[in-house]
Amino acid sequence: MTNASTGYTSTVETTIAARRAAGGGALIGYLPVGFPTLTESIDAAVAIATSGVDILELGLPYSDPVMDGPVIQAATQQALANGFRLRHGFEAVAAITGQVDTPVLMMTYWNPVLQYGVDRFADDLAAAGGAGLITPDLIPDDAQTWLDASERAGLDRVFLAAPSSSDERLVQAVTRSRGFVYAVSTMGITGARSDVDSAARVLVTRLREAGSVNACVGLGISTPAQVREVLEYADGAIVGSALVKSLSVGGVDAVATLAAELAAGARDIRAAV
């Protein structure tokens, strides 16, 4: 989608639109940089993209990840113990976008961006071929520097929307986000759940009323059936902990296999509806 004022096109938005046009929705896959090693994390991201993940969400390990459950905490803590540095994040984005055309969003808590320098971070992410940022602990209310920097650098900015968000806040999330709005499926943190909360469906409906074109659902999604179910009403399904667990247990081959299974759930769902 081309922004009329800046002439900037969001590859994340065009990817989601293409999936929707084909009768399905986007599969968004999360993996942390540097887990289990930097090289393997790059290989794993390329492998899941090749296996059918439409948009990559690359997490930057952080010391105090308040939105993450035990699986992602353990992985990112290991990455930090292995010596993860922020520059590895940009190296990983460059290495991945050099091998696949899949758009790569970074998911990062705010303090690392702040310390790196918001403008410098935006420039280096754009130079590495990154599509934008998902910011779990930055709300639009306190995000002016990032709104400015992302505008200037032509990057997507994905803010979160929660079942507890007021209508006014949903409008704000929709207006301020670019790429998509991250609809938090349930009140909670990352991690696989047996049922994706019905709150997700309500939230996506409310986001539509708030004007959202691209509402993607995350938290708790781990199976192809859940991906399919979510994509009946949402534009994208975000899978994180399940992929991380698979990578942790079975390595790159296992996570690629899981990605392919999940992707099958994201393809033409019209027959199922």
Partner: protein, 408 residues
């Protein structure tokens, strides 16, 4: 500050200068908004103030005393040193002041479950106490390292009916306990209120916790006037997250002749990394929902702090302190583990008062300050807590425990 509004006491967030704000997951915003709104209503409601005031009087034992300590002060240049005795409060520290306020607020909101983080265990004990008093479910998050060094406080919380969760992630101390408490809150926000223990965290916590603690300074200001006929030359307190310091500083913010000193944990010395001197050695950053000063590496990863005192072992600090430091209204200096322990023993032996190790940092700093200010000066110190909980640490530190002796 604009000249139209010169009062430093009037700050109520979300920002204190460049510090503060709300850097939290969107899921928490509704709860923070609800808390802000309910607190604003409570603040304007005389019935709320009356209920809290009655609890202070008949439950906590307020107003707390002030005690002049001349034998101790003889080691500090002969300055007059006056202690504000928050150690005499029910549950043994200033923490109860804030907890009673927040639990009353929880009752107003209608939630039945409270959660809290704790480092030394004082805030956890205070929260467990108030939860028992009001019949609320209570879960306290405490780093595994702290559950070991403050085992007695764990037992106290359990005796009071609280569940204590030992946090095994990250550095397994206070900062990780806060992370887990926030995760709990994100998940259970509909039923649960987070009783935050210090003047840090996202808005409205820094301003609200300060408001619940400012009674310390309000009482002490008048008590010192009554005792000495004038305001003190300096007011001192230890600073971890900073709630007891904000509590005693606040009443004096608009008294420019009163100097304010916060003493941070210098640990094994601020030359190395084994300290918790956030304002002395930190840089601005975002931690636990607010922009403030913090100990961090080049990449913005939080650096583990160290202090012999679990209550000061925190790599962040409240945003109002960061602001007061930035405008030069308050000074913050490091005090080492050894200096604090020396002062703990000195106050015990000269005055028969065993302070918490946290508060002993303020005492150590005050002795040095007394030497600078001289014998005509008056220094008010917030003795934020008592040392009962620290007897095991002190016993080992001073080698006071008989070999092979068993506590039965």
């Amino acid at each position: 500050m604009s000249s139209a509004n010169p009062s430093l006491r009037a700050q109520s967030g979300p920002y204190f200068g460049d510090f503060g704000g709300r850097f939290v997951p969107e899921s928490l915003v509704a709860a923070l908004d609800e808390l802000s709104a309910e607190y604003a209503l409570a603040k304007a409601d005389p019935a709320f103030a009356a209920e809290l005031s009655e609890l202070h009087r008949s439950y906590t034992g307020r107003p707390s005393l002030i005690t002049e300590v001349p034998r101790f002060a003889a080691h500090g240049g002969g300055a007059r040193i006056i202690l504000k005795r928050e150690d005499l409060n029910h549950t043994g520290s200033h923490k109860i002041n804030n907890v009673l306020g927040q639990v009353l607020l929880t009752k107003r909101i209608g939630k039945k479950r409270v959660i809290a983080e704790t480092g030394a265990g004082q805030h956890g004990v205070a929260t467990a106490t108030a939860a028992a008093l009001f019949g609320l479910d209570c879960v306290v998050y405490m780093g595994e390292v702290d559950t070991e060094r403050q085992a007695l406080n764990v037992a106290r919380m359990r005796l009071l009916g609280a569940e204590v969760v030992s946090v095994k992630t990250g550095s397994r101390t206070l900062k990780d306990a806060i992370n887990d408490a926030m995760r709990d809150w994100v998940t259970n926000v509909e039923t649960t209120n987070y009783v935050f223990g210090t003047v840090a965290g996202p808005h409205p916590f820094p301003a609200m916790v300060r408001d619940f603690q400012k009674i310390i300074g309000e009482e002490a200001r008048q008590q010192v006037l009554d005792l000495t006929g004038r305001l003190p030359d300096a007011v001192t307190a230890c600073v971890g997250g900073g709630s007891n310091a904000m509590g005693i500083f606040h009443a004096f913010l608009d008294d420019p002749e009163v100097a304010l000193y916060g003493y941070e944990a210098g640990g094994e010395g601020i030359e190395g990394l084994r300290h918790a001197a956030t304002l002395t050695k930190g840089r601005p950053g975002v931690l636990h929902g607010a922009r403030s000063m913090m100990l961090q590496d080049e990449d913005g990863q939080t650096v583990e702090s160290h202090s012999i005192s679990a209550g000061l072992d925190y790599p962040g600090v409240g945003p109002e302190h960061a602001w007061l430091a930035s405008i030069g209204r308050a000074s913050y200096l490091p005090v080492t583990d050894a200096e604090a322990m020396d002062s703990l023993r000195l106050l015990s032996r000269t005055e028969g008062i065993i302070p918490a190790i946290e508060s002993a940092h303020a005492l150590a700093g005050t002795l040095e300050l007394g030497k600078q200010l001289g014998p005509d000066s008056i220094i008010l110190v917030n003795l934020s807590g008592r040392g009962d909980k620290d007897m095991e640490t002190a016993g080992r530190y001073f080698d006071l425990l008989d070999a092979g002796a068993q506590q039965l």
